[in-house]
Symmetry: C2
Subunit: 197 residues, 2 copies
């Protein structure tokens, strides 16, 4: 409905995840009214991501060098490995400041309905890393949903015979939450996972 360039931009923005036609239009008009330098910076950032960012050859986290920042950091313990689905999970765990080991990014979770099996994930690469013998403990930090649980169960079965300690992140009530609003599965897990005080 708009003329050329602005409709092109609305169309392109509408292809992004979570951006509907109304948001695309809103963003396009924002761009139209913003400072040319700001728009230039955004366009540049988009292109630089494609040029510079690749995946760490060790853990498959996002990186701008052969290895990511965490794999390059010699102060991080190499004997604990945390397995996550996506690079954003690495960031979420790093934010807690609780973990000083290294990561392994699977690139997804097992999902038979969508035809994603272990061969589509970086499971073989994980086994190679574990085969090196340096890893003492493996923390399975896949998402607490069906696919994540299936992936964790699969990996636990595979890794336990190697004599490596395998653990899974605790499920339970979110801190700051309200007991009465917790769903029954979460509340059930909080019960079965109760700790002595």
């Amino acid at each position: 409905m708009y003329e050329g360039a602005i409709q092109d931009l609305i169309d392109e923005l509408g292809r992004l995840p979570g951006v509907g036609p109304k948001s695309a239009q809103r963003i396009a008009f924002h761009v139209l009214q913003s400072d040319p330098a700001d728009v230039h910076r955004l366009a540049g950032a988009l292109q630089r991501v494609k040029e510079l960012v690749r995946f760490c050859t060790t853990c498959y986290n996002v990186a701008e060098a052969e290895q990511c920042r965490i794999c390059r950091d010699s102060r991080r313990s190499g004997d604990v490995l945390c397995v996550v689905e996506e690079p954003k999970d690495v960031v979420a765990i790093e934010r807690t400041g609780e973990f000083r080991g290294r990561y392994h990014v699977l690139g997804g979770a097992i999902n038979p309905l969508e035809g994603i099996g272990p061969d589509h994930l970086r499971v073989r690469e994980l086994m190679t890393r574990l085969g090196g013998g340096a890893v003492r403990e493996l923390i399975l930090a896949t998402d607490p949903n069906t696919e994540g649980e299936a992936t964790a169960t699969y990996l636990a079965l595979l890794v336990k015979p190697m004599g490596i300690a395998v653990s899974r992140l605790a499920s339970g009530l979110p801190v700051g939450g309200d007991l009465e609003y917790a769903d029954e599965i979460t509340l059930g897990r909080a019960f079965s996972g109760r700790r002595a005080v």
Copy 2:
């Protein structure tokens, strides 16, 4: 928390309206995994909008030439003028296919709380157009909220003495809506604006 380029992109995306930190991260990872050609097209569309799009010198709609598509279209009636707040309102009205006249885009609405008075809008430009004598009817299609109503009332007072017919878009129940869910002001307007059948 991310390295260089991807964090830059998340920061830039987070400045767009309606894009929070989580969406910015989601879009950044989408960009990272999409085809370089798609990303190049989006970056190009952003920059082209700033280069090509300007405002029509007659009606202040968005345009890629001296005048917008509607002002250039000689089949459109020049004796009915529809006043709207923003270019997106032009698109919304064009979609109805009900209007064959021309537009005047004010660039906003009167809002004393934010210090926006008639001088900040294209009111003077509207009066110049109306002074030409070709316009027979003025349709006030500002938003049906406090600012839009104030703007419409102000313009009506200004234009009526010129002998031009002034009308306002009908307020009432949205088509396909449910009477019981209508707010009292809308329902009240629907009553006062009832039509003989």
